[in-house]
Symmetry: C2
Subunit: 225 residues, 2 copies
DNA sequence: CATAATGATTTTGCATACAAAATTCAATAT
DNA sequence: ATATTGAATTTTGTATGCAAAATCATTATG
């Protein structure tokens, strides 16, 4: 029944993981307030580890804390999303550069498999499938090129991007037809172990998405007036 | 109506600030263990807000947590420092780019004042003074070009860099004579509102420091064998 | 002697208690 | 009907209590 023995289960971590999925799955809706006592009971823990997890997520910006009022699921503004794309532009550029310098044979194989995944899901016409393959690709890229530090930062911002896109865009900023060649360019440069090209390709990819997002936002606000 | 009555002092925040200065001033020496009960009493608070502050500093990487063992003041390896410089290279590059696009007249004035500060302290021959002016300059730069997000990340890593350099290098990676012209180039590009040049100048600055650091580390390990 | 075993002490992880602040809600005044 | 007040209730911030794990000191064993 209970997990006795040496492997100690850390409640902070457990709460953190659960909350994170709940936020991403929209089980906790953005803008809504956290009722600590109730949520703690729901999760089967006390307020202590719950609040620890909330504070951690606050630092990751998935949650907002208002002193003496409580914790709220974060809502991201358009400006913030553009800023996050700008950040990912330079950081994932760095990850691509580093990846090209470090990649091994088996990792090249894995990268090619991910590319195949992107291609077949593009061909299948399912945007959702492509979005998933896209996330897998970026995740592998930052794992490849990121040390602990870089990986942690990028992972956080990828999660935010993802949660925003799923909610407001159906998962993608631009159509697969447009981004597939860009993904191929990044992969190619990494496999060729060409750091400059890899960084530039990754940056271009994000820059285009950021610019598209910005255009869409402008258009939106025009249509509204 | 303003949210008045806000003289509420948050113990988490208080503990966080105090711990951070204690770490930077080497009052808590790197590698040493935190004795929660004792430290809490010293700070005049209970373990709860102390542990909250420790967890926050853990996320900022100034502290390491080992489950079931405790919190320890972090020691930075050489590899990590090089990685941090790499990060700052792309992030402060971004900050410089953004700064050049947004800078106002009064900020230009301030920037020129900081430049004067760098020049006079270089002329004075005091490395310590120059190191301080250097920090003020970088701090202003990331404030200028950083949105909330970018500023927070950069601030954290600047603090780490600073604490490392003070401990192991007397405050600087390279002599003022070498870095002063680079600082001037960054400032000039920002004032000229030239984003590409500003980003490149900031990146070059960090790249050179990173390479110098790397060379020194290599030399060190050779001398040791 | 070194090392293993044992018991005592300290420390951590977590739940809980409780005062102070915030919020809700009913009652009353405008 | 709306605004105001002021209990009653909820929620937060923080301290404290306590079991389980880790560490330390001491003695026992090869």
């Amino acid at each position: 029944m209970k997990n006795l023995g040496n492997d100690h289960v850390n409640l902070d971590q457990k709460a953190y993981n659960q909350l994170k999925s709940m936020i991403l799955d929209q089980n906790l809706k953005s803008g809504s307030k956290i009722y600590q006592e109730k949520l703690a009971v729901d999760l089967g823990i006390s307020r202590t580890p719950l609040v620890n997890a909330l504070k951690k997520l606050e630092q990751e910006r998935l949650i907002t804390a208002i002193p003496r009022k409580g914790f709220y699921i974060r809502e991201f503004s358009k400006e913030e999303m553009v800023n996050i794309f700008e950040l990912r532009e330079v950081l994932e550029g760095l990850a691509a550069r580093r990846a090209s310098l470090r990649i091994t044979g088996s990792q090249i194989k894995k990268l090619n498999e991910l590319l195949t995944g992107l291609k077949t899901s593009e061909a299948s016409g399912s945007v959702e499938k492509y979005a998933k393959a896209d996330r897998r690709f970026h995740h592998f890229l930052i794992k490849l090129g990121g040390d602990d530090l870089l990986f942690n930062i990028l992972e956080t911002y990828s999660v935010i991007t993802f949660s925003y896109l799923v909610k407001f865009r159906g998962g993608l900023v631009r159509p697969p037809k447009e981004t597939l060649p860009e993904h191929m360019a990044i992969i190619e440069a990494i496999i060729n172990k060409d750091p400059e090209t890899a960084e530039q390709a990754a940056r271009d990819h994000f820059k285009r998405s950021r610019e598209k997002l910005l255009r869409d936002f402008k258009e939106e606000s025009q249509n509204r007036s």
